[in-house]
Symmetry: C2
Subunit: 266 residues, 2 copies
Amino acid sequence: MATAHPLPGESVKRETVMETISRRIEGLIRSGELRVGSRLPSEPKLAAMLGVSRSSLREALKGLMFLGLIKARPGYGTYIQSSLGRAVGKHFQWMLLLQEVKYLELYELRKILEPNVAALAARRATKEDIARMDAAIRGMKASFDRPEQYMAFEMSLHEELAQASKNVAVEAMLRMMYGALAEGRRRTLYLIENFESNFRRHQRIFRLVSRRDAKGAHKAVLEDLKYAETLLRQDLEIRDNLRTKLTKPELTSPVEKKRPARITKP
Amino acid sequence: MATAHPLPGESVKRETVMETISRRIEGLIRSGELRVGSRLPSEPKLAAMLGVSRSSLREALKGLMFLGLIKARPGYGTYIQSSLGRAVGKHFQWMLLLQEVKYLELYELRKILEPNVAALAARRATKEDIARMDAAIRGMKASFDRPEQYMAFEMSLHEELAQASKNVAVEAMLRMMYGALAEGRRRTLYLIENFESNFRRHQRIFRLVSRRDAKGAHKAVLEDLKYAETLLRQDLEIRDNLRTKLTKPELTSPVEKKRPARITKP
DNA sequence: ACCCTTTATTTGTCCGACAAGCGAACATAT
DNA sequence: ATATGTTCGCTTGTCGGACAAATAAAGGGT
C-alpha cells in the first residue's frame, strides 16, 4: 500500500470547529475589526455569528484564553488582551515539567540572552527605567533577611532590564524563560548562601547599565551567570550522588499503559 | 499598610474549574502517574474522578491541547505528547499579528541567538546532524528556480542547526522565533534577489560548522544576519515612503468600543 | 450627594443526547 | 486455515438547554 513509513506529516483530518474559530478570530484581527483591548461579542451572539453551538465556541475560546490572547470576566465580557501577560511562560514551564528541558540547559540559554539584553538596556534605558531598577536594587538591599522577598525584587530587576532593552521580542523570550526558571525557584533559593555577595554582583550590573557601559554590563552579567551556574552544578552533583546511593529500582518501572482490551460478551 | 503600589499581582478571584483541572493534571504528571505518551482516562471517567462535569473538563483539556501538551483523537483516546510540537510558536505568531512585535526586533533577537547556536552546533553536532545539514544544503542548491522549495530547505537547515546545539531550551526558543518569522515569510521571499549569493553564505556557515570552527561559524552567521537586515531595512523604508504619501487619516482613528449601555425599561 | 437595591447582561458550570471515528472481537467466505 | 467484511463497545466531537455566579448600569431611598 501507500507507504511503509509512518508518514509523520499530518493525516487528512477534517478541520475541527476549534481551528475554524481560531482562523475566524485571526481574520477579524487581521482585518482590523478587533484590536487589543476591544471587546468580543457575547458568547451567544458570537456562536450565532459563526454558526456553531455555544459549547464548541467556548472550547475554542478557552484555548485562546490558555494562550493568553483573550481574557473573560463573568458579567463583564471577553476582551482581547496583550499576549505579553504572565501566562506566556506556560509552554516552557510545562516543558520543564515534562523533563524535556534540563535545568543546566536553561543556564546555557541565559548565558546567551541576558548579557546581550543588559548591553541593549545600557544603551536604551530611559530615566524611568533606571529609576525602577534603582528601586528594585534598594528593595533587594533591604530584604537580606526575607529570602522570598529578596527573590521577588531580584526578579523585578531582571524584568526591568528586559523592558529597558526596548525590544518586545527579546522581552517576551526572557519572560518565558523566567517563567520556566521560577518553576525551580525553590531549588535555587537556598543556593544563595550569601545574599550580600549576590547583591553586590547585581548592584555592579545596575551601575554599569546606568552608566551606559554596554560592554561592561555584558561582561558582568556573563560572570554572574557563570558563578551561579557553578553553584547549581555543585548542587546537582550532590543530589545525583544521593540518588544513586538511594536507588529504588521498584519505583523506576516505566509501566506503559496499553489500551485496555474490550470485555468479551458471553 | 502593605504597599502603596498598585500591587500588580492578581486580585482575589476564585479559582476556576479550568485552573483546578490544570493543576490536578500537573500533579498527575509530577507524581509520575502520567508520562509522555501515556493515555489519559476517558473524559467521562476523568470527569468523575475530578468531580466535575464533562463540559468543564473538556474546556480545560482544550486549553491543554492548544498548548500542545495533549492530543485527542476521536474513538482512540487522549494522550500526553511532547510539547515541542509545531504548535509551540503560536504565541509569537499571535504577538506578531497583534503588532506587538516589530519585524526588525525579531532580527535583533536573531542576531543574539543564532550566532551562538551555530557555535554550539559546531562543537556538538554529530555525524548524523552534519549529514542532514548537508542534505539541506544540497536541496537548496538544486532549488534555485523554486523559491518556496528553496525557503523550505533553508528553514530545515536552520532547524538542523538548532537541533545540533543539543540544548532543548535553545531549540524551543528558536522554533518559536522561526514560527513568528514564517508569518512574514512572503514579505522577505522576494528580498532574496540573488539565490546564489544567499546559498554561498549558507554553504560557508555549514562548512564552518562541519569543521568544528565555532568562532568562525558565530561570525559568519552574524554577518549573514546583518546583510539580511540591511535588505529588510531598505525594503521597509521604501514601504514607509509609500505609506506616508498615500496617508489616509480617516482610517487611523482608534475607535475604542465601549460597553454598550443597557436599554432602560419604560 | 451618597448608599442600597434592582435588573439585564455575560460568563461559568452542569446535564443529557446524538453523531463520527476507531479498534478489537466476531462472523463469514474463499 | 487464511482472509475479508461486519458488528459492537468505547472515545471524542458537537449540540441544545438550563441554572448559578458575577458584573455594571439604572433606579430609588435617605
